[in-house]
């Protein structure tokens, strides 16, 4: 039995909570190598998402993701708004109509999200962007699913890989986004978008584990 729209809603709510909780941390990361607004941007977006959820019918997981996508696009702004917006939009597209998501569907969802970000932002792995969280997450999820892991375990693999991926941005020089202006001086700082991506994927894994238990 896969993850349904109840999980999708739980994921989104947990995302909003965890982003609010880490707002200051994300601002601090962005202040080091960007312009100090990433936490504020994401928090503004997910606060708006929460407000939208109130009056809405659950529908399918895809419906929930689409609502997240359009809300982020119209409330976040900055670089991360269109990028996360596209990610959720493409993710929604990858699972349209499905009532429940099995491991394969989750891998498709994550892959589509990652590809959406690349499509808009043209970043490659190692450019010190959110892609450095998403790409290892997609790979780890695919490997776990190929090994027959449960839905929760697929997302757990994605979250863990995203977290290491975010951490692994620290020694990098940035080649996209504001941090690219800094050259060598970006070294030693974690990319804020990779960090928020890891938080979102951790929220997915955690709510999946709760749904399974």
């Amino acid at each position: 039995m896969g993850l349904d729209s109840g999980w999708a809603l739980a994921w989104v709510r947990e995302s909003a909570r965890v982003i609010a909780e880490h707002r200051a941390e994300l601002i601090a990361l962005d202040r080091e190598i960007g312009d100090g607004d990433h936490g504020e941007n994401m928090d503004r977006g997910f606060t708006a998402v929460l407000a939208k959820l109130d009056g809405v019918e659950p529908g399918t997981p895809g419906d929930v993701l689409k609502l997240v996508a359009t809300t982020l696009i119209s409330t976040v702004g900055g670089a991360s708004g269109p990028l996360f917006g596209t990610a959720y939009l493409k993710a929604a597209g990858a699972v349209t109509g499905a009532e429940e998501l099995d491991g394969a569907a989750l891998v498709a969802l994550l892959t589509a999200a990652r590809d959406g970000i690349v499509l808009r932002g043209k970043a490659e792995t190692g450019d010190k962007t959110m892609i450095d969280a998403w790409s290892p997450a997609v790979d780890a999820a695919a490997a776990a699913q190929a090994d027959g892991a449960s839905e929760a375990a697929v997302l757990e693999a994605a979250a863990a890989a995203a977290e290491s991926g975010a951490e692994a941005t620290e020694p990098l020089v940035a080649r996209k986004g504001r941090a690219s202006y800094l050259g060598e001086r970006a070294i030693g700082h974690r990319d804020p978008g990779a960090q928020s991506s890891a938080l979102l994927l951790r929220a997915a894994a955690q709510t999946a584990a709760e749904a399974a238990s």
Partner: protein
């Protein structure tokens, strides 16, 4: 953080309300979504110019809405690009049937949000061209960066392209002039102090009492290098060198010299900077044919300055001198 504000999150909207109350003769402010248009509505048959970006750079862009310059400005949150919605709304509001030019500073966020907005506006039947401004020589322009940033040169593009639209140029021609101004403009800035984004509450970087940051952006991003404070003339020479060699500017060129304050620098200092820059250009046989000095593209309360050179031709001069009637730039007739 010491600021004359109420709720840090209401900074942009309250400020827009103040702008609306003070300048209803020049602009009309729309709220939710937030954008600023000329008082009097769209002019049929004229190409409309829309610009925008994060707030905190005032008078950019709202201060440049009016006859001879922009038709609309779209302010995002402080230092954060607006989302597509207000850009689309502003674009539809000012279209006079001749199409709309988007003037976009080269930051990933601005580019992506304006891109989406342009697509959506086209769906609504408005023809949109976009020009991306990237005049900042502090950033190495290579395949391996997000490219040069758009900084103070944006004002020059808005003024000159605005005059071209006003005289009746069509959309392709206005876009071509804007592109040409951007191609002939180069900027470089220095910060003496950082600025503090209201919702962040802390300065975006820290500088020791004897340090300055060379190659600063307009969002409180750290710059190219941090050096000990030097006399103004030495700093001006440091800013000019990469500007001059980049285009390059050469003896015999006529230029517009634009000394832009980052917000917190007193006017006496801007003119001390202008003095040395003009002298250094004269030494190289470059003629300063037009000039602009003041706080036009700011970074909140940051102390610092940027220097922009625009290589002039007769058409640029004519369009620069053409009448303009906005909150922040006004002359002519």
């Amino acid at each position: 953080m010491k600021k004359l504000i109420n709720d840090p999150r209401a900074v942009v909207s309250e400020s827009l309300q103040g702008l609306a109350a003070a300048h209803s003769d020049v602009v009309t402010v729309h709220t939710d979504p937030d954008f600023i248009v000329r008082a009097g509505g769209p002019r049929q048959g004229k190409v409309a110019l829309v610009s925008g970006g994060g707030s905190g750079h005032e008078p950019l862009h709202g201060g440049f809405v009016g006859e001879g310059m922009l038709d609309a400005a779209v302010p995002g949150p402080v230092f954060t690009s607006p989302t597509p919605d207000p850009i689309v709304a502003a674009t539809l509001a000012v279209d006079g049937g001749a199409g709309v030019l988007h003037i976009v500073k080269n930051y990933t966020g601005d580019v992506l949000n304006f891109e989406t907005a342009a697509e959506l506006a086209e769906v609504e039947g408005v023809t949109v061209r976009s020009v991306v401004i990237d005049d900042d020589v502090a950033v190495k322009d290579s395949l391996y960066t997000a490219g040069r940033r758009g900084v103070a040169g944006t004002v020059l593009v808005e003024k000159i392209a605005g005059a071209a639209a006003e005289r009746g140029d069509d959309l392709d021609a206005v876009a071509a002039i804007a592109t040409r101004v951007n191609a002939q403009a180069r900027s470089m800035g220095v910060a003496l102090t950082p600025s503090t984004v209201p919702h962040a509450g802390e300065p975006s970087f820290t500088l020791a009492d004897d340090e300055v940051e060379i190659g600063i952006g307009i969002h409180g991003e750290p710059g190219r290098e941090r050096i000990p404070l030097e006399p103004a003339d030495a700093i001006v020479d440091r800013l000019l060198a990469p500007i001059l060699e980049d285009l390059p500017f050469e003896g015999g060129d006529r230029v517009l010299l634009f000394v832009n304050g980052m917000g917190g620098t007193p006017q006496v200092e801007l003119y001390i900077v202008f003095r040395r820059a003009a002298e250094a250009l004269r030494e190289r046989g470059i003629e300063v044919a037009r000039s602009l000095v003041g706080n036009y593209v700011t970074s909140l309360e940051m102390q610092g300055v940027s220097i922009t050179l625009l290589k002039l031709d007769d058409e640029f001069v004519e369009l620069w001198d053409a009448p303009v009637n906005t909150i922040a730039l006004r002359w002519g007739r």
